[in-house]
């Protein structure tokens, strides 16, 4: 009813968009140097490369500096509750599976308060792309420990050093059943653009956890800290179909820290594929409302 694919295809070839066409209504208010800028520009480039149009995309976020993303990006957006981006996005994607749904947020938002949803989204394999701007800190609330903060890290809420072991998003996602798991680095926008293109094209739940330094509140994991450590996984001999190898590489943390595509399962059916209600008739949001005569008749028969 709504999407006229032939017309869209025709327009697509005529109007090749530029990255700036994906600029939102306002300029980002992130601190100068914030890692999130790199994620924004990479996603804009990825959407250009994939020839997507703003109205075909829905970006969904929670709350946090990183979650302000939808306001800075030209597409449909939902800037929802802290930690709840994934279920909001799931509802939207299941109700309109023609949308390209991209979820953006922070480490606190996704792995802390939203951790339960993260676990279940991964196993559900809904066709979403989840970009976490992981700065290992709570930025918007001015610098408290996060689920990815390192052991011993001093923050405003752990002035004597954190006593908790950080969560590893990559292994967590793999173990929970995610079918595309990657780590990006916002200081390598080219690499990140490529990962995001792959993630969006991937059919199923894809996680791209991005090292996206908070220059204001995380004085430990700075660009200078990352620079000598980060290594491209693609330069190693890594088989991304091998989940054990993927976990092993993801756990390497210290002198060397790998980023890139750790894991992918290409052919696993998504929840959208498996759901019989979506087999035909297009997105449920545009379907005829109310019952057909025969459906009502059957319901009544069952009650008598």
């Amino acid at each position: 009813m709504v999407t006229d694919t032939a017309v869209q295809e025709a327009e697509r070839t005529v109007t090749k968009l530029k990255a700036k066409d994906f600029n939102g209504k306002v300029d980002p208010d992130w601190c100068p140097g914030c890692g999130d800028f790199g994620v924004l520009s990479s996603l804009q480039k990825a959407c250009v490369d994939l020839e997507l149009h703003p109205h075909e995309i829905l970006t969904v976020s929670g709350i946090g500096c990183s979650s302000n993303f939808p306001g800075f990006f030209n597409s449909y957006g939902m800037h929802t509750l802290h930690g709840r981006a994934l279920p909001f996005a799931t509802g939207a994607k299941l109700a309109n599976h023609e949308l390209t749904v991209i979820v953006t947020g922070g480490d606190g938002d996704g792995y802390g308060i939203g951790g339960n949803h993260f676990t279940h989204l991964a196993r559900r394999n809904v066709d979403l792309t989840y970009i976490v701007m992981n700065n290992q800190i709570y930025g918007l609330t001015v610098g408290q420990t996060s689920p990815t903060s390192e052991f011993g890290m001093k923050t405003k809420s752990t002035p004597f050093g954190s006593l908790e072991t950080p969560l590893n998003p990559i292994t967590a996602a793999i173990m929970n059943g995610a079918t595309f798991v990657a780590r990006g680095y916002s200081a390598d926008p080219k690499g990140l653009t490529d990962l995001l293109c792959q993630a969006i094209q991937h059919k199923g739940f894809s996680l791209v956890d991005v090292f996206s330094p908070c220059v204001t509140f995380n004085k430990d994991n700075t660009y200078d800290w990352f620079k000598p450590r980060v290594k491209k996984l693609e330069d190693e001999e890594h088989d991304f179909h091998d989940w054990k190898a993927a976990c092993e590489q993801a756990l390497v943390w210290g002198e060397k820290i790998y980023y890139g595509k750790f894991f992918q399962v290409e052919k696993k059916p998504t929840l959208n594929d498996l759901e019989p209600v979506l087999n035909e008739g297009g997105p449920i949001c545009f379907r005829e409302l109310g019952l057909a005569k025969e459906q009502a008749k059957k319901l009544l028969e069952d009650m008598m």
Partner: protein, 594 residues
């Protein structure tokens, strides 16, 4: 038995796992197919084996509103049931039990004890469920029903298990029926036939079906008694009706997923009980702020906290009124029974679509798990559907679209994602007309005020779309009983009972909580001689709400908070005691231990 109409109550008691539901269903099907009206209430506990289950059926030639005051025929499946209930059985009643395993004890004169030697009648069948079938056979005789009716139903019920099982069950039932003919006196009035077969449903099924008829295409839930029935119905019919049904990891996910679906223009619904609703709370406000229509159902159970999961109460009113931080429009409605619940769902969807806000239905265990007959002609499967100002087609002009346009009505035309020409962001932060945040560093008091007022203004004409409460019964009365939601049926009957005792009473049932018909309610109540508030909670939540909205003080109340629903005589007695000046707040004693 009442003299002028057929009104008969059957109770079946036993432990969880003793298979009470099956004979219960058999009887219910017999009654509704005969065209009789039926209301059933099941008192049970949150255990899978053991405990005490007490299933009550009330059958009548006229509409039945509640499970009544007493039992005419008691079926005891275990000793515990006999011990708990025999003392309440009055002259002219029957008690059926397996005399091999159950000892009756002291009964009042005139109670017919119908012990059946199940072992002997069933040729020593060791299946423990055989006593249930035997009891049904005895029922046929006592109710004056043709045995063939039971034979038919048992055949249908057991044919999947093979002809031997069918024959075995019919054999036991027949032997028990014959034994009853030889030994027990049947009811003097054989069970009549009604005009036409009735349908029957639970309130949860009615809510779910109401959603399906309203065009719900997305339903999400996390299991929680007593709301789970909605999920089960939805799951069963999902594929036939094209409804996406999801069981989500928690109620936070449930509510947010439903709102995510609703953001695309889909009609989305979810249901839970108070504890689950507590988790949905933040999402209620998100729908308020993003102006996304969604219907959320709270099937109340006795609280607080985990409370009494299988018992009823009207204790979540203030939770619904206060669900979510901040000040935003919402709609809250408390249907009075299953049919009303069914009709309320599409009605509420039309309202939330028109006003782009969350809508809450307050049900409770009594409505939702109670099962009742319904006249098939009263079920409107094709209600009016009004999506309000929803845009679902691509834009043809290049005009700047403002999702939250500050219109005169406060309602801003809503375009859904995927459309060309309407790209926008919906935010839970305060936002300007174009969806750009006006929180954090762009805070702007003038705009903030404008947006608060825009949302607030939306509901200004809502009274044109919801019916005001009206007095039921005589205009002039000695006493007016005010109730809300599920107390409707019991107050309705109490009014009739009071009439036979020479007290003229009438009834003001209130369904719409928000919006609240302050003007009409004040007009009605300020002209009443005496007002008594009736509600199923301790602190008079509804009364306190009504007082806060109307300023009306009422000092006489009937309240109940023991987990069991009111019985009509309890309300009647309360009214009498209050009118006699014996008390101002009457709390009935629930004598039946269930």
């Amino acid at each position: 038995m009442n003299s002028d109409k057929y009104d008969f109550v059957i109770s079946i008691g036993g432990a969880a796992g003793q298979g009470i539901a099956a004979p219960g269903d058999v009887l219910a099907w017999i009654f509704v197919r005969r065209g009789l009206h039926l209301y059933t209430y099941n008192a049970y506990q949150s255990i899978i084996r053991g405990g005490h289950i007490f299933l009550t059926f009330r059958v009548s030639t006229e509409k039945v509103y509640n499970h009544g005051d007493k039992t005419d025929l008691l079926i005891c499946l275990n000793q515990d049931t006999m011990d708990r209930h025999l003392k309440h059985m009055e002259p002219g009643s029957w008690v059926i039990y397996n005399s091999d395993t159950i000892k009756p004890g002291e009964a009042q004169d005139g109670v017919e004890l119908c012990g059946i030697p199940v072992k002997e009648l069933s040729d020593n069948n060791r299946n423990k469920l055989v006593q249930n079938t035997g009891a049904l056979g005895v029922c046929m005789h006592i109710l004056g029903l043709d045995f063939g009716i039971l034979e038919d139903i048992l055949t249908k019920q057991f044919i999947r298990k093979g002809q031997t099982v069918v024959d075995e069950n019919i054999g036991v039932a027949r032997a028990a029926c014959d034994y009853a003919v030889a030994n027990f006196t049947p009811c003097s009035e054989a069970i009549p036939e009604g005009e036409k077969p009735q349908a029957w449903w639970s309130g949860n099924e009615a809510l779910a079906m109401g959603g399906a008829c309203a065009g719900v295409k997305f339903y999400a839930a996390y299991p929680m008694s007593p709301a789970t029935g909605v999920l089960h119905w939805m799951a069963k019919y999902a594929r036939d009706l094209g409804i996406m049904v999801r069981q989500v990891e928690d109620e936070i996910g449930v509510a947010t997923m439903a709102i995510g679906a609703a953001a695309t223009g889909t009609r989305a619904m979810c249901a839970t009980s108070g504890g689950g609703f507590a988790l949905m709370t933040e999402a209620v406000g998100s729908a308020g702020m993003m102006e996304i229509p969604v219907v959320m159902i709270n099937v109340q159970r006795a609280g607080p906290s985990t409370g009494v999961p299988t018992k009823t109460e009207q204790g979540d009113l203030w939770q619904m009124l206060g669900a979510s931080q901040g000040d935003f429009p919402r709609i809250i409605v408390a249907p009075k029974d299953a049919l009303d619940a069914f009709n309320t769902v599409p009605e509420l969807f039309n309202l939330v679509d028109r006003y782009q806000c969350p809508g809450i239905i307050i049900s409770d265990l009594l409505i939702s798990e109670g099962r009742s007959s319904v006249d098939p002609d009263d079920i409107n499967f094709h209600p009016n559907i009004d999506l309000g100002e929803l845009i679902t087609k691509h834009s043809t002009n290049g005009d700047e679209y403002l999702r939250y346009k500050n219109t005169e009505s406060g309602i801003s035309p809503r375009a859904v994602p995927g459309l060309k020409g309407y790209v926008h962001v919906m935010a839970t932060d305060e936002q300007d007309e174009d969806g750009v945040l006006i929180s954090d560093e762009f805070t702007n008091p003038v705009k903030r005020r404008m947006m608060v007022e825009k949302r607030g203004r939306k509901m200004q004409d809502i009274f044109e779309h919801v019916a005001a409460p009206e007095i039921e019964g005589p205009k002039e009365a000695d006493v007016t009983l005010v109730g809300w939601g599920s107390t409707y049926g019991v107050i309705h009957e109490a009014v009739e009972q009071l009439k036979t005792e020479g007290i003229t009473a009438n009834h003001l049932p209130i369904k719409w909580i928000v919006p609240f018909h302050v003007k009409e309610i004040m007009e009605i109540l300020s002209n009443c001689k005496k007002v008594i508030m009736v509600e199923n909670n301790y602190s008079g939540q509804f009364y306190r709400y009504m007082r806060s909205e109307t300023g009306l003080n009422v000092d006489t109340h009937i309240r109940k908070y023991d987990g069991e629903p009111f019985m009509p005589h309890q309300v009647t007695n309360g009214v009498k005691e209050i009118l006699d000046g014996e008390t101002e707040v009457f709390v009935p004693e629930h004598k039946i231990m269930v």
